[in-house]
Symmetry: C2
Subunit: 338 residues, 2 copies
DNA sequence: CTGTTAGCGCATTCAC
DNA sequence: GTGAATGCGCTAACAG
């Protein structure tokens, strides 16, 4: 490959100084229209493109932000990124995405890489905070915003929904339908928001209605369809059968639904099932799934907006933004049969 | 934010020259273990991280590659990226991902940005080639590989599956089950691989078995669930009803399936349905979907491997790699009832 | 083995 | 308005 064209080359061809070329390219200082045209012509003719590396080196800004998520194969995160990209693209930033698959080692590797590449900011989600993470962020001050979770030890702005309240609401919805024996397929407890908070909302709703919390009716899954299937299998082994299932994610709900369908149980006649997230999957299956809708794209948008504010206005407050959610009633739930 | 620590700072603190610091950091030339230790200690204590921008400026390599896809919300592309990342990560590259949503303008913007940022290579998929694209690539010689499609005008290496043959196979599979009246929900024709090739395979299989190709039995969708639903609706309006449906994507197949389910048609008893891709969705629905399985992660891996070869070995051949596929028989198909 | 020096490509003083 | 010179942080000759 030939050597890249540089500003010097353009300057020589246009018979001006590099400073002038720089000025017309960046509109940073007045240049006579004559020289401007001359430079622009050469630039167009040669297809010259400024070297962003050199520019970043001087300006101390790279125009790229790093995004760390567990797995973009999960529609939830894919949507989140789309929201982020909507905003970053509009502001001429670019995103460096990485899937950590929950591996702490990979997370730390990426954090380091982000630092070396001098990214302007970081967005991350689903990271389980270790001592090393804390060390990193205490030393390296970079604009950062967290999405879908919060940290107590580190004060980054965060955007989430009120997982506790949403779970509470959908549990009460089941209770209002007359259900008493409600089982929950929960996520891992170390996932504060989608695991712990949703479980808490569920339990609290039961308690406030004076229903007992039956330990056998709470089974853990890992948010996959398969784990939902397995969890349902376990729940159904109990003497007492629930008439409703609250799953902490749509995927696990689909797993539970399939278990029912595969074993001759009618949904919702025999058993009502609700999910959480409102992924595309929720309306792709039959019966369609009653669930909590949250707008991931919007979440990404908000997150990116906050980050860009942090970067450009150098604000430095820490706050948590809660986005709205809605309960969407579909065909997987009905009143308890007497 | 304080000024970053530089190599000069480290050199001063360790009382050596910057060259020495550079040498221990890059293991590029022998350094006495005494000095090496001294430098390493300071680096560790201060948390110094080299500036990748400055390094890239010299080495003419950024260690980042650009990935352009239509929409990573599509599991297909999400998996592809995961495959790519598996390889790039292992080789200490990083990827810049962008969703173009099919907008040519965005594609061109990103190509330009990639050039300015001096990325080491580009992978793209689902791009509809315009004159401007061609101009770009003729001027800017950057290692590039295409996935999921091929170009005749530009000779980039590409990795695909044999869409024609796969479609042919699954159509014959339906024919072997005794189906004669088979409808197809196809994709847009400008999508050479997933649209045109799959349609061709279908038609060819019918012709080779001396079945007529019924125009009313070929309806176009856009690969979404909803378009599959609509397409099925249209197909079912015909006087003659098909006993089997071949959909060019799982999503459209699910749409068709839902139309059937919503209108009292039994699948597969009344009508057999097959999809294409074998996404997670294919086993999430009931009945589970007979489909063509292709391994997107593997596709991403192969693609990235080829690109890295291109970059590091500066090879420059153009070839097309076809990955294997398999027909997976599930519950959405059965023999035609007499 | 180690240090000095010259750029990588650009933006930005500072003179004119 | 314009040009010459300085340096962003680093690597790679080049000497020693």
């Amino acid at each position: 490959m030939d050597r890249d064209l540089t500003m010097k080359d353009i300057a020589e061809k246009a018979d001006v100084s590099v400073a002038t070329v720089s000025r017309v390219l960046n509109n940073t200082k007045p240049v006579s229209s004559e020289l401007r045209k001359k430079v622009l012509d050469i630039v167009k003719k040669t297809g010259y493109k400024p070297n962003a590396l050199a520019r970043s080196l001087i300006k101390q800004r790279t125009g790229t932000i790093g995004v760390i998520i567990p797995d973009m194969d999960n529609e939830t995160f894919a949507d989140l990124i789309k929201g982020i990209e909507l905003i970053t693209d509009k502001n001429d930033y670019v995103i460096l995405v990485t899937n950590t698959m929950g591996e702490v080692k990979k997370e730390l590797k990426m954090f380091n890489l982000f630092e070396e590449k001098r990214l302007d900011g970081i967005i991350f989600s689903g990271v389980s905070l270790t001592e090393k993470h804390i060390d990193f962020f205490e030393r390296y001050k970079i604009p950062t915003v967290v999405v879908g979770q919060t940290f107590n030890k580190l004060d980054f702005p965060s955007v989430t929904i009120d997982n506790f309240q949403a779970s509470f609401d959908i549990t009460e919805y089941l209770i209002d339908l007359g259900h008493k024996d409600i089982a929950m397929i929960r996520g891992p407890i170390y996932d504060i928001q989608a695991g712990k908070e949703r479980l808490l909302g569920f339990k609290t709703a039961l308690r406030e209605n004076n229903y007992p919390v039956n330990k056998d009716f709470i089974v853990e899954g890992d948010f996959t369809i398969n784990s939902g299937y397995k969890a349902m299998e376990k729940i159904w082994r109990n003497e007492l059968k629930p008439t409703a299932i609250f799953s902490a994610s749509d995927k696990m709900a689909i797993g539970a639904l399939n278990y029912c369908l595969d074993h001759g149980l009618k949904v919702p006649e025999d058993i009502s099932i609700v999910g959480f997230d409102d992924m595309e999957l929720a309306t792709a299956v039959r019966p369609t799934l009653t669930t909590i809708h949250q707008d991931q794209v919007e979440k990404g948008i908000k997150t990116a907006e906050i980050l860009l504010d942090l970067i450009e206005k150098e604000e430095n407050e820490s706050y948590n933004i809660q986005l709205p959610y809605t309960l969407i009633e579909r065909d997987s739930t009905c009143k308890r049969k007497k």
